[in-house]
Symmetry: C2
Subunit: 414 residues, 2 copies
């Protein structure tokens, strides 16, 4: 089959899934979770081939770690499928209902998109996570993982299809186009009318390439140049703890802190304590001139640092003269993911909440809270940084559309 | 100013609008409505220049009619602004709120997109309608109307900017790029990060060009190859009235009927009555072989007829052997706008509602009901035929996004 034929097969299969019961979907998910564990050995053999190749091609060690599976990690993938089984099914939910004066009965219900496309990098967990979320939300899925995980993904897709074949659902619901290389991704981006929504997951350059190249509607996720602003009235202890938690708890995530702004009136008092705590944990401080003069244990920042999503123990730090200057800096450099102000001034807090144009705007809290699990969605489809359709942490509901049902008895328009 | 500078000016102005009171927005809208009427003479002079040019260039008479303004039409534009004033303001609406166990307070509120771009054809009413809806929903707007309405749109934009200048809002909230011709539209489609959402309004070819060319997220509207299926158990009187109303009441709209499917068991009984009524109203029947043999007062349909959005008193008609064949035909040719079944069989009705993948799916009702006004949204931004963000008739709320506000007291993630 060509890549386009596989995409078409996903579309054809998607129709049958739209009206399948929650029980049938959960049963299929349970079979997938069980087969994953039963086939661990086979999956790990495939994974070891990818890992060998990764070492040979000098793939960054962080990416090697993402690529690596183990019995424990496969078990944890199966557990996450069981978490998805436990989530409520969004399909069929009544969004709104009304009866018009002429008696026409209108009901807006939640329906699947149809086919979700996912283009991602060397993260085999996405293959399983997204497939489970897609099936639970009534969607077929077309996957294009990175070549670095090609053998692992083939083994995982085989498990997905085998488990589906033994369930009441169609094995055609999960399709991969990895074996077509870049052409597979291009076919997906051109498949308007077959793929209903495309979700890129990975680096900023991957996401930009999909946003620029796709004719299918895209949901842009991740990509977090996240800011914390320490205002002049900030509680010093909160400043130390929130900045530390935002930067250090898990630096390789999109909600980790990348740029710290500090009001000049507290730069010499609060800032050294904040930075001491970070440096003790191994963080490199990329400082503007003022920060560097106050805190010499830092390197001078360049323009690139204000744009940087480090994903590492690095932090850009800048002194600003006012709340206005902080807001202006964020407007210029933010990727509209998460920003937080540390302040005791309620008026400043409310201005920050109103004027910062990001998916999540915080007062006196760690940026690490921007997360589907933390928000109580029970899962993590991704964090949307765009304004259309979904903004912020995305749950199962964000993988659905709606349609209007109109039930009449011969009504015509006057 | 270049086109890009105007788009940037709209973006800059949009920040100030995000936290403006409903009263201030309504006051500005009232000033626009008043100035429109006060400047009627000037607007009509500009319009007459466009109309002269339209005659010279043989613009289709339907488009000439859409282009033509009059005192009465300007009055009606002002009235529609007053309707928008009366609508509830969606901005600031709380979508959901929760407090996490750690005390972090989460509120998801409705916020403006920021900047809405509209690319449309020779319809000066869109200039006013969309600007009013954008302002009420807290958005700046960048307009690119067709060259056929260039002088009219310049006059209307002048009124919009003058009225805004005399209000508490910024005149920069409304920008036009008409004077840059095609380049203006291209700049809009490339303005990712400045324009938040692009809405094309007009012909299928205009909409496709924007969908294919835009790097800004698009909401696809209109484009209705709309179907009615007369099932074997259809009430004959309902069939006659619903088909007549769907086709004839206002054929130049996207919710008008374009293809009629009829079950073979009632083709010789119900169909002639249905078609007689249409032909008497001047409708041309484009018939498949079977329909043509039953009803000779018809022309033979070609493949193009099943794809046609006529917008005129033309109707494609086809006999099908079953509900399944009707559903398959619709799957193949529908633009996912509106489809209706006429049936007395509840199981067939429910199958049609479940399996047809369109924005609005009806039982025993006229397709003409797919309309923001009819649905009680009080206005008509357009009818979305895509699945992302909005589906079906779009009200003010569909011109908004959301953001999460998180209010804490030093919370960090464990």
């Amino acid at each position: 089959m060509t890549a386009l034929q596989r995409i078409q097969a996903a579309k054809d299969a998607s129709y049958s899934l739209a009206s399948v019961s929650t029980a049938s979907k959960n049963e299929a998910l349970k079979l997938i979770a069980e087969l994953l564990v039963a086939r661990s050995a086979e999956i790990l053999v495939a994974n070891s081939i990818d890992l060998e190749q990764a070492v040979k091609s000098n793939l960054a060690t962080g990416l090697q770690d993402r690529l690596r599976l183990s019995d424990a990690r496969i078990k944890s993938l199966a557990d996450s499928i069981n978490d998805v089984i436990a989530l409520p099914d969004p399909i069929g939910e009544i969004v709104q209902a009304k009866t018009l004066e002429n008696g026409l009965d209108l009901t807006q219900i939640r329906v699947p998109f149809g086919v979700i496309g996912v283009i991602y990098e060397a993260r085999p967990n996405v293959t399983i996570d997204i497939s489970a979320l897609a099936i639970k939300s009534g969607n077929a899925v077309v996957l294009r993982g990175g070549t670095a995980a090609e053998n692992t993904n083939i083994a995982l897709a085989k498990v997905l299809k085998e488990a589906l074949a033994s369930s009441s659902l169609s094995p055609e619901l999960v399709q991969t186009v990895d074996d077509f290389g870049r052409q597979g991704a291009n076919e997906m981006m051109a498949a308007r009318g077959l793929i209903d929504v495309l979700i890129p997951r990975g680096s900023a350059s991957l996401i930009n390439a999909v946003v620029e190249g796709s004719k299918v509607p895209v949901i842009q996720t991740g990509d977090g140049v996240t800011h914390v602003f320490i205002d002049e009235s900030a509680n010093p202890d909160w400043a130390v703890e929130i900045v530390f938690n935002s930067k250090v708890q898990r630096p390789a995530t999109c909600n980790a802190l990348e740029t710290l702004l500090v009001h000049e009136s507290v730069a010499s008092t609060i800032l050294p304590k904040v930075l001491d705590r970070l440096v003790a944990a191994g963080v490199t401080i990329h400082a503007d001139q003022k920060v560097n003069s106050i805190y010499p244990d830092s390197v001078l920042a360049t323009e690139a640092d204000w744009h940087a999503e480090y994903y590492t123990l690095d932090l850009a730090v800048k002194v600003v003269a006012s709340l206005d200057e902080a807001i202006d800096h964020i407007k210029k450099y933010s990727t509209h993911h998460t920003e937080s102000i540390i302040t005791s001034d309620e008026a400043h807090a409310e201005r920050f909440l109103a004027e910062i144009d990001s998916a999540v705007v915080m007062v006196n809290a760690s940026t690490r809270f921007t997360d589907g699990g933390q928000f109580g969605f029970g899962t993590e489809v991704g964090i949307s940084t765009q304004k259309l359709h979904a903004r912020g942490p995305m749950g199962l509901r964000e993988l659905t559309s709606t349609k209007w049902l109109a039930r009449g008895a011969g009504q015509t328009r006057a």
